[in-house]
């Protein structure tokens, strides 16, 4: 139990630093930045403390807002994703997901891919909706959501493959 807490705290800090120092400075085509820091929420233990996940996601989002001057949009997106996570698990892995040992951090299967995809789309859509916050720019929200989702998805899968515990 305590080792999983330490792993999660380490993951929190590591992903936050990686996001701020590397990924938020990509600015591909002038506006595209991937947000792989949400991997913290996705990789949180399936049967872990739910209140702990909500509070740590809130803090994660708030810290991102602090670094990126985005008001509170990262916090809203992270908290919503953390709350909806069990629903996405159910959708991707079936009703009895809690009894199986679901590990996101493993070989990419269609279930895992669909889970990551839904999570990233949800997070990015809420994020850009609140960051832009103007209904006449709704098309911009959709374009940014689509392009950033592709970018984040690729980076997330690469990171998962890199930190995957080696068995062979």
């Amino acid at each position: 139990m305590s080792s999983s807490v330490i792993v999660n705290i380490f993951r929190f800090i590591f992903l936050l630093l990686l996001q701020v120092v590397v990924f938020s400075r990509f600015d591909l085509f002038g506006f595209l930045n991937p947000y792989p820091y949400i991997l913290f929420i996705l990789l949180y233990p399936v049967n872990g403390n739910k209140a702990g996940l909500l509070i740590s996601s809130f803090l994660l989002g708030l810290t991102m807002d602090m670094f990126l001057n985005s008001g509170g949009s990262h916090a809203v997106a992270c908290v919503t994703l953390a709350y909806l996570r069990p629903t996405f698990f159910k959708f991707s892995f079936g009703i009895s997901y809690e009894y199986q040992t679901v590990k996101i951090n493993d070989r990419l299967s269609p279930e895992r891919f669909s889970f990551i995809l839904i999570s990233v789309v949800t997070h990015h859509f809420i994020l850009y909706l609140l960051e832009i916050f103007r209904f006449n720019l709704i098309l911009d929200v959709l374009i940014r959501t689509l392009l950033t989702t592709i970018f984040t998805l690729i980076i997330c899968i690469i990171i998962i493959y890199l930190i995957k515990p080696g068995k062979q």
């Binding site: 209140a51 809130f58 989002g61 807002d65 670094f67 985005s70 509170g72 916090a75 919503t80 916050f133």
Partner: protein, 277 residues
């Protein structure tokens, strides 16, 4: 009573979620609603320190460009200095120091942003160096923004590239006023709106800060006119302004303090108050 406790206990996760969502939504809506309302900003010791460290590394990689920019600025200032006796040769940049009631603080951009619709950048001077909110920020080429939040050693600046940014500006040759805004589309261009139709405007004319601005001295360069068109709703001219600054690469900047600002604001408030009654 027992049932209420049971209800709270059963739905504790939902209640916690709604509480956190409420807090973060309030912060978001507040930050969008009015000027200088960001509760969470990068003007603090932690993010300031991180961005300072990143910037220290970055600077090494762009030393050559920085030196060239500074040398270019020196050359332009020298040109003004050598030509001060010649009244036919009006200097392109009027120095703030000349005017007496403006103070200048030197600073550096440690975190720039230009990819979203509400861009802010962070500079490495705060209220310990005398930076206060609502001071103007210029680079060697012209206006870049206005100070928004300050902490001990850092400050966040609202960039020209922000939908919330508004600045009084004028066309240099005929003194017609307008408001400088940004439409969120291109980082190289801003828009001067509400310019009267009787103003004669031409492509290539220079746009500078107006005398109405309490933040900037008059005649600080902003950009040149790229395109002129008429706003269909208001029937005023809207001018597409090509900015002198490349907002995607900012280095050294200068913060301008208008020492008379408080006095002007106080005087204007006293003047308008009786009229409203």
């Amino acid at each position: 009573m027992q049932q209420i406790f049971n209800f709270i206990f059963k739905n504790s996760i939902l209640i916690l979620f709604l509480l956190l969502l409420g807090i973060s939504l309030t912060l978001t809506i507040q930050s969008h609603s009015y000027h200088r309302s960001q509760a969470v900003s990068s003007a603090n010791a932690i993010s300031g320190y991180v961005y300072q460290q990143i910037n220290n590394v970055d600077e090494y990689l762009s030393l050559k460009e920085q030196n060239e920019a500074l040398a270019g600025e020196n050359a332009r200032l020298k040109k003004i200095l050598f030509n001060t006796q010649d009244t036919t040769n009006i200097p392109p940049v009027k120095l703030p120091e000349v005017m007496g009631n403006f103070a200048v603080i030197q600073s550096k951009v440690i975190k720039n942003s230009y990819g979203v619709h509400e861009n802010y950048f962070t500079i490495n001077s705060g209220h310990n160096q005398g930076v206060k909110p609502d001071m103007g920020v210029v680079s060697s080429l012209g206006v870049v923004g206005v100070v928004e939040n300050t902490s001990g050693n850092y400050a966040t600046v609202i960039s020209i590239l922000n939908l919330k940014f508004k600045l009084d500006a004028k066309i240099k040759k005929n003194n017609h006023f307008g408001t400088l805004t940004w439409n969120g589309k291109n980082t190289g261009f801003a828009q001067l709106i509400d310019v009267p139709r009787l103003a004669s405007v031409q492509k290539g004319d220079t746009i500078v800060t107006g005398a109405e601005s309490r933040i900037f001295p008059e005649n600080i360069p902003i950009g040149t006119i790229e395109k002129v068109y008429t706003d269909k709703k208001t029937n005023y001219f809207t001018l597409e302004v090509r900015l002198f600054n490349d907002m995607t690469s900012l280095g050294h900047v200068y913060i301008i303090e208008n020492k008379d600002r408080d006095e002007i604001i106080k005087l204007e408030e006293e003047t308008t108050k009786p009229n409203e009654q």
